[in-house]
């Protein structure tokens, strides 16, 4: 526990960190190894100074290397502004002839310093702050600006000439926020409030036994692992023969005891275990078709024998047969979407990749399995890297007692077809939360669940999140917001009659 909480508060050698440039300007993941470097402004800087710094520490570039500075406080800005200018509400009413921009003409003559002057200052190793001060001193319009636009001007110049960065612990919440900005398709367009809601709706906590279907790069699995803190188990289930990547789990700095609680298994392994158990008469779980048939009666590709029973419904059969090609289409579509996310690929993948080359990774030494996996090449081992195979004892335990909750984020699959298979694996009275980017598939799934009477307390919910700027006399919602975090179908499984 000590070691774990320490790992939460200080960035150690080998830890992953989230690097936040200029207060949310740019977010990048990096792994702290002595040889790792990161692009800051125009130059590559060694990340060595970040090692052993507490999370929340700030750094700036001084003479080509990163130097720790006190975290820039918003108070500094407010004070600077107060010193520069009379009361902040001059804009509102009490100063009829306040400063405004009526005489401001944009003719590129306001700044007396030339680009060459600035370059010279830079090569002379002037600090970023000196450059910003010089720019202000040589601006003929700066002093006619309002306090607000002076502050804005300073901020803009500071970003360019004196960038700073803050290191953050890569928690699921922060990872989700970073992905939502940089590469939303990878996480199925989920928002941090969506993930938060799913954890609550799925009753995730210590000692839970959670069934997760994660096709959102490991975001859900990571969120569950983090919330359970090494108590209980997480069974990450997949349909295809090749398990989807869970990269995000690897970004958390998991202790071996936490990483150890993640299992990976295919749907067919689970359902055949269920069928075996059913045959023994230990569990009578037959939601209107019988579980054994349910496994074959859907559009989801199982590894084998997915076509034996045929299906009673023409469209469903079609769907099933068409699945492989539909999958291909989806993959192409997905690749195209992900190609847009160059930034993430370069920064998150890139940084970590650079750091990984030829280095022995010091995290997770205790567990042979993890160590072996970590030293394997990252790109090829995505699938196998996180989570272990459950033994037959785990499997039969789950089948006998059931999971305590189900979270699903599989935007490529028909929710009902998967729910039909997975719901019988839950113990009665367990809640579930199914995410989808679109509303309609969840509406269909909810209708089926109502008709088949497999669950109560069914609801589709849509989370909504708005951020505000709160500053003296300048409080308003952010001008940009994420319009959708998707939809969640939730309910509680009931005991079959």
């Amino acid at each position: 526990m000590e070691e774990e909480s320490e790992l939460q508060q200080v960035a150690r050698l080998g830890s992953n960190v989230l690097v936040d440039f200029n207060n949310g300007d740019r977010l990048t993941f990096a792994r702290l190894l002595p040889s790792a470097s990161l692009k800051v402004g125009n130059s590559m800087c060694s990340l060595a100074p970040l090692i052993n710094a507490p999370y929340g520490s700030a750094f700036e570039l001084q003479r080509g290397s990163l130097v720790q500075i006190p975290p820039p406080l918003p108070a500094d800005l407010a004070e600077a502004q107060a010193a520069l200018n009379p009361p902040a509400d001059s804009m509102l009413c009490d100063e009829p002839r306040g400063r405004d921009n009526r005489s401001l003409v944009d003719d590129n003559t306001a700044q007396k310093l030339s680009a060459q002057d600035i370059d010279r200052m830079r090569t002379d190793c002037a600090s970023g702050k000196d450059i910003v001060d010089a720019l202000i001193a040589n601006s003929s319009t700066f002093h006619n600006k309002t306090a607000y636009s002076q502050e804005k001007y300073k901020k803009k110049k500071q970003k360019k000439y004196a960038p700073f960065l803050v290191i953050r612990r890569p928690s699921t919440r922060r990872i989700c926020e970073a992905y939502a900005v940089k590469c939303p398709p990878k996480i199925g367009f989920m928002r941090m409030d969506t993930v938060a809601l799913m954890l609550s709706l799925g009753n995730v906590g210590a000692h839970a036994e959670v069934l997760v279907m994660d096709m959102v790069s490991g975001l859900l699995t990571a969120a569950v692992v983090e919330r359970m803190g090494g108590f209980g188990s997480i069974c990450s289930v997949h349909c295809a023969a090749k398990p989807p990547p869970l990269d995000i789990v690897g970004l958390l700095n998991l202790t071996p005891s936490m990483a150890n609680r993640v299992f990976r298994v295919s749907i067919s392994e689970l359902t055949s275990a269920l069928a075996r158990d059913d045959a023994c008469g230990l569990l009578k779980e037959s939601p209107h078709t019988g579980s054994a048939q349910a496994t074959t009666d859907t559009g989801v590709c199982l590894d084998d024998d997915n076509n034996k029973n045929g299906s009673e419904n023409g469209t469903e059969g079609l769907n099933k047969n068409a699945k492989p090609s539909a999958d291909d289409d989806l993959n192409i579509h997905k690749e195209a979407e992900q190609a847009m996310c160059i930034d993430t690929k370069q920064t998150s993948g890139g940084d970590i990749e650079v750091a990984t080359q030829g280095e022995e990774l010091p995290v997770a030494k205790e567990d042979g399995r993890v160590e072996q996996n970590v030293s394997a090449k990252k790109r090829n081992s995505n699938a196998a890297r996180y989570g272990r195979k459950p033994d037959s004892e785990d499997l039969s335990h789950w089948v006998k007692h059931g999971f305590t909750g189900l979270l699903m984020g599989a935007p490529e699959y028909e929710p009902w077809s998967v729910t039909q298979i997975l719901l019988p694996l839950l113990s009665p009275s367990s809640p579930f939360a199914i995410y989808h980017q679109y509303l309609q598939p969840l509406a269909d799934c909810m209708h089926e669940l109502q008709v088949s009477r497999m669950a109560v307390a069914l609801e589709i919910v849509e989370p909504w999140l708005r951020e505000y700027q709160v500053l003296p006399s300048r409080t308003h919602p952010h001008m940009q917001m994420n319009a959708t975090g998707g939809y969640i179908l939730t309910g509680i499984k009931i005991a079959p009659n």
Partner: protein, 329 residues
């Protein structure tokens, strides 16, 4: 309420358990199981003794033939059934607060005020089994009722309730430098912020919930003054959808087949009772497929459209959530 380790897990209802009696999504009740007692509601009279030994999630019948479901309590269900002694926090805010504060097993978190214990119950789930929730309310009776609820739900080892005016006195000094997170739900949160700085560990997180923007303004001033970093303000809401299967008339049919139009008109005008039966998904759901089938038999073979629309009445505002990190020195 809290999940037990695998080997201690129990799936059947026993004497003394708290069960959530589920009638409909908007009609639920927490009941302590006492053999010898009875529960009576619109679906009949139910003997607790009949429930014992059944699994959670089971359907039980009353003397009159009606039925209800018996669910295991969760913090989410508790929020739906608890007795409101104050205004409470709901799931959208609760889940966001816990996620943003990055609570996990072992975390130490303080809360003021306790109120009706809606958030507290969820906080407890997120920090159990090794963490603690220190919760304070200046209203003695309220604190006592909350304590009774926590005991009833088996949270007594996780949640510590105290009567204390945090706005006036601050958090107790015994917590200094120890807490991972602090949650404030107070009329004048800025008064508690100096004390929050003291109890938070380095880089610990604070959240303040306030319904009014003026409260947020003043809190932010205080946070800046006390060198909090990463100050962010959010508003979180949740929209709920209902799903119905309905038949929409194609224009062509109206023109060509007068009699079908007439037949369909009264079926299609969705009487209010139909909405209930499709939405609830419990007892009345059994009539549903039949009703629809009758409609179909008369009109056409094709099943209707499944359509989702937002539930018209919803919360428009709960409060603003202000988050900040204690300055790392």
């Amino acid at each position: 309420m809290l999940a037990r380790p695998v080997e201690e897990r129990r799936e059947t209802i026993q004497e003394g358990d708290v069960v959530i009696v589920y009638e409909r999504h908007d009609r639920m009740k927490a009941v302590s199981v006492r053999s010898g007692e009875e529960l009576s509601n619109r679906y009949g009279i139910f003997r607790h003794a009949d429930w014992i030994g059944n699994p959670f999630g089971c359907k039980v019948s009353g003397k009159a033939g009606g039925f209800v479901h018996l669910l295991a309590p969760t913090p989410e269900l508790w929020t739906c059934v608890l007795s409101h002694r104050t205004q409470i926090l709901y799931i959208a805010d609760i889940s966001f607060v816990i996620s943003y504060l990055e609570l996990r097993p072992g975390s130490l978190v303080a809360e003021s005020g306790t109120g009706s214990g809606s958030l507290t119950t969820s906080l407890a789930r997120s920090v159990a089994p090794t963490g603690h929730v220190y919760t304070f309310d200046f209203h003695e009776q309220r604190a006592n009722s909350a304590r009774q609820d926590f005991v009833k739900n088996g949270l007594e080892g996780i949640v510590m309730v105290d009567v204390r005016d945090v706005q006036g006195l601050g958090f107790p000094d015994t917590l200094n430098g120890k807490l991972d997170a602090v949650f404030l739900d107070l009329p004048q949160p800025w008064l508690a912020i100096p004390s929050a700085v003291k109890v938070l560990r380095c880089n610990g997180a604070l959240c303040s919930f306030s319904p009014c923007i003026e409260q947020v303004q003043r809190s932010c001033e205080a946070l800046r003054k006390h060198k909090f970093t990463d100050i962010r303000i959010f508003e979180v809401l949740m929209r709920t959808y209902e799903v119905r299967e309905e038949h929409l008339k194609p224009v062509q049919q109206e023109v060509t087949r007068q009699e079908t139009l007439e037949a369909s008109e009264d079926k299609l005008s969705s009487p209010p009772h139909k909405k209930v039966c499709l939405k609830g998904g419990t007892g009345q759901a059994s009539e549903c497929p039949d009703t629809v089938r009758t409609c179909e038999g008369l009109i056409r073979k094709k099943p209707g459209f499944r359509m989702a629309k937002p539930v018209p009445e919803t919360r428009g505002h709960t409060g603003y959530l202000t988050f900040a990190l204690a300055y790392t020195s």
